[in-house]
């Protein structure tokens, strides 16, 4: 328990010195991607081999007598496509796709002899990259909010302290008053990373002005967009930074209690955050009179129970209050009447994670990154049909081309780029013409898209855009809370129309009806989820109207993805008349005489594809 800043500083120096004593670190990525690919087994293997070989090593940061060798499980390294990842520090060697069988060699060569196992290093276009920072995937990134994620052991507060964590708390309650902090955040140009891009400083100042106590700081960790996992990484891999950001927000606004709302699907994040809160409380960084100041602050965790709409501010606070997560009308706004009807600062995980950096390094430092109106960096989850999927962070204003083709390594399987869906179900799609558009709040708004929480799903020529629109509408329709008529009834009808289009039952006028409903929902819906629900449909109609028309008027899916629009035929030359397909067909659409070529009755065929995989002669084909 630190009673004052001096004690905290002394302790930090102690753990820093211990960290400096470690001469070699094997850092195994413990991110969800790598774990699902076997990273834990790799870690265990290292453990047993090193024990077997009687190598003196530690698995935690030893404050007193640090060992030369350290085996560490860190958070997500971001390069999920290549997992399990192992990085050697301080040489920065990166081993990719490490299997249990590789561990022996790594220990033998790297740990014992200090040599690099080059065969495990990343290779692209024939070039092998030994150091992580040279790998194109990393080279173009700038990690601010994710800086610690691939470095520290998130379960240990000492590691965060050794990496200059909680330095903002040395400053904020002592050298700065509420106004200074709000000014610094305003000056930095930090905008909410949850989607809307509302200036964080302005929000904080509005809450600071309120005279109604208690006030709350709420962190939105309900990262629900399908295809987004940036916030998950911060919560699981660098939870203290988020706590630190929230504490600073508390000092700035006069709030005394914080809530973190974590979505139900992130049990690991909940466990890590709980642990972090416990440690911070034990160290006196949370609780009564933090570091001897007159500021007190506590943080509680509220677990979501499975509702996307709870990412919306008022639905989120309703959910913390134990109610159905239905958004309410505004005004009054959350800054005046938020959680428990009290003034509330509500920001998302990434926003809070940026705060300590701004406090410590200053607003002008932060403004070095990004563009004039969108300062700083933004984390994106890069997924879909791109070679290097993973978690990335780039300065605001980076172009899509840099992200997809430089960092992402281009399209998978040599296919052609078609579009990228940005901002999840609330966003829109961007096409080839937008590849050189700088990604920032305002330029995206101009083309009808939003950064949203930062999901980037890359799609190639084999992706049907009508199907993509149907997918997102299905998602939104399922997640609509049902309160307002435009969203509840409108999305239901839009989905109905999209479903019939991809099934080849589209009618003349359907595109116009989609546009009519989409426009109405955008203007009339109650909350952000509803207002943006039609985004994916309207933007795919805008850029790929011809695909819609092909489905409706020619009953054809240009991308060849829509099952119901496929024709399955039997190649007469290859068919041996074995009748296997006919016996499997669930609707009896295949007929013929044994040992003569069979035929498919197209009027009966439901395109289920059962026959396709069953044919021993590969005589059945679809187009």
């Amino acid at each position: 328990m630190f009673k004052n800043v001096a004690e905290l500083r002394d302790y930090r120096n102690l753990v820093k010195a211990a960290l400096a004593k470690e001469k070699l670190r094997i850092v195994v990525c413990g991110g969800a991607g790598c774990v699902s690919k076997g990273a834990n087994k790799v870690y265990e293997k290292f453990l047993s081999i090193m024990k077997e070989k009687n190598i003196e090593f530690s698995v935690v940061l030893e404050k007193e007598n640090a060992k030369d060798v350290r085996l560490k499980k860190s958070g997500c390294h971001g390069f999920c496509e290549m997992g399990p990842l192992v990085r050697i520090e301080p040489t920065d060697w990166l081993y990719v796709k490490v299997k249990e069988e590789d561990c022996e060699e790594i220990v033998e060569k790297t740990v014992l002899k200090g040599e690099c196992v080059e065969r495990l290093c990343y290779t692209e276009n024939g070039k092998t990259y030994v150091e992580q920072k040279q790998v194109p995937f990393y080279k173009l990134q700038t990690k601010l909010s994710l800086f610690n994620c691939d470095k520290i052991d998130a379960t240990n507060i000492d590691e965060y302290l050794a990496n200059d964590g909680y330095t903002a708390l040395e400053k904020a309650p002592f050298e700065m008053n509420s106004e200074d902090i709000v000014n610094e955040i305003s000056e930095s140009g930090l905008r909410g990373r949850g989607g809307g891009g509302f200036p964080a400083g302005r929000k904080w100042s509005q809450v600071a002005r309120q005279k109604n106590f208690p006030k709350y700081v709420v962190c939105n960790g309900d990262e629900g967009d399908p295809g987004a996992f940036m916030d998950r990484s911060v919560m699981e891999d660098d939870p203290h930074r988020m706590l630190e950001g929230m504490i600073v927000a508390g000092i700035a606004t006069g709030a005394s209690e914080g809530y973190i709302y974590v979505r139900a699907e992130y049990p690991v994040a909940v466990a890590k955050l709980k642990n972090a809160i416990k440690q911070a409380t034990e160290y006196g960084l949370l609780g009564e009179n933090i570091l001897g100041s007159n500021f007190s602050f506590t943080i509680k965790i509220s677990r979501g129970a499975g509702a996307f709409v709870c990412g919306e501010g008022s639905a989120l606070t309703a959910s913390i209050e134990g109610k159905r997560g239905m958004p309410r009308v505004k005004p009054p706004r959350t800054v005046e009447h938020g959680l428990f009807d009290k003034p509330t600062v509500l920001n998302n995980v990434e926003t809070f994670a940026n705060v300590p950096l701004i406090i410590v390094n200053g607003a002008s430092w932060y403004k070095n990154y990004g563009t004039e109106k969108s300062s700083g960096t933004k984390a994106f989850a890069l997924t879909g049909n791109v070679k290097n999927t993973g978690l990335i962070e780039v300065p605001m204003g980076t172009t899509l081309r840099e992200i997809i083709f430089d960092i992402g390594g281009g399209m998978r399987d040599g296919k052609k780029f078609k579009a990228v869906q940005i901002g999840g179900p609330s966003g829109g799609c961007l096409t080839e013409e937008h590849l050189d558009l700088p990604l920032d709040f305002d330029s995206l708004k101009k083309v009808g898209a939003i950064i949203g929480s930062g999901g980037l799903v890359v799609m190639d020529e084999s992706t049907c855009m009508v199907e993509v629109a149907r997918f997102f509408m299905n998602f939104t329709q399922n997640e609509s809370c049902g309160k307002c008529v435009p969203c509840r009834e409108g999305t239901k009808r839009m989905l109905e129309i999209l479903e019939r289009i991809v099934e080849g039952k589209g009618q003349d006028g359907d595109i116009e009806l989609l546009e009519e409903l989409g426009e109405m929902i955008s203007a009339m819906a109650l909350c952000g989820l509803g207002k943006t629900a039609a985004g994916p449909v309207l933007s795919t109609i805008k850029y790929f109207r011809n695909e819609y028309e092909a489905h409706i008027y020619e009953k054809r899916c240009p991308a060849g993805e829509c099952q119901k629009l496929k024709t399955i035929t039997i190649d007469k030359d290859l068919c041996k008349g074995c009748s296997k397909c006919a016996r499997l067909c669930p609707v009896g659409a295949i007929n013929g005489k044994i040992k003569e070529p069979f035929e498919i009755d197209q009027s009966k065929c439901i395109k289920c594809g059962s026959c396709l995989s069953a044919c021993p002669f590969k005589a059945i084909k679809e187009n």
């Binding site: 969800a32 991607g33 774990v35 699902s36 690919k37 999920c80 496509e81 997992g83 990262e223 629900g224 967009d225 399908p226 295809g227 987004a228 996992f229 998950r232 139900a264 699907e265 992130y266 049990p267 509220s302 677990r303 979501g304 129970a305 499975g306 509702a307 996307f308 959910s319 913390i320 209050e321 134990g322 109610k323 159905r324 997560g325 239905m326 428990f340 989850a381 997924t383 879909g384 049909n385 999927t389 993973g390 978690l391 869906q421 999840g424 999901g455 799903v457 799609m459 992706t463 997918f471 997102f472 998602f475 399922n478 997640e479 809370c481």
Partner: protein, 160 residues
């Protein structure tokens, strides 16, 4: 098969989370964890302790996806249908698993209460797409065949 409801679970949850209305979701989550569903018998109990009408609790219980009013299987399999998984053909995995277990959109749990198969909007494991989650463990880059294999291995373990 009539199981007696153990109300001490609720008492513990209530003493941990309190009797304020905001405790409702946390208490229901605990009940869901322990009983694997929300038995109807617990509603009047919670209603009285928290002074919330039963209809209101029912409203909350049916709003959130994680609550189930029907008993779930020992293995709850969530097939991710997030964007990344969807574009990498997660639907085929869902179909294969349902077929293997004789389940459907409306019938999500096997009669022996061993398996429940459902979809989830995103597991946040997009880099491992298509992914599925069995209870709390994520299985990456699945195919319809590997999914069926997985089911078979669980069946073997459970002797069914």
């Amino acid at each position: 098969m009539e199981n007696k409801i153990d109300f001490t679970v609720l008492d513990q949850a209530i003493s941990e989370f309190g009797t304020e209305k905001k405790a409702l979701i946390a208490i229901l989550q605990r009940a869901q964890e322990v009983y694997r569903y929300l038995p109807a018998e617990i509603f009047p109990y919670i209603a009285e302790k928290l002074d919330i009408p039963e209809a209101g609790i029912y409203g909350v219980a049916t709003f959130y996806e994680n609550f189930s009013l029907e008993k779930k299987g020992k293995y709850v399999i969530k097939i991710c249908d997030g964007t990344a998984c969807h574009v990498r053909k997660s639907t085929a995995i869902l179909d294969a698993m349902r077929k293997e277990l004789g389940l459907s959109e409306s019938k999500k749990t096997t009669d022996d209460f061993i398996f429940t198969v459902e979809t989830v909007s995103c597991l946040g494991a997009c880099s491992s797409a298509p992914a599925i989650m069995v209870n709390d463990e994520i299985y990456p880059t699945m195919t319809p065949d590997s999914a069926v294999e997985l089911l078979k291995s669980i069946k073997e373990k459970e002797n069914v």
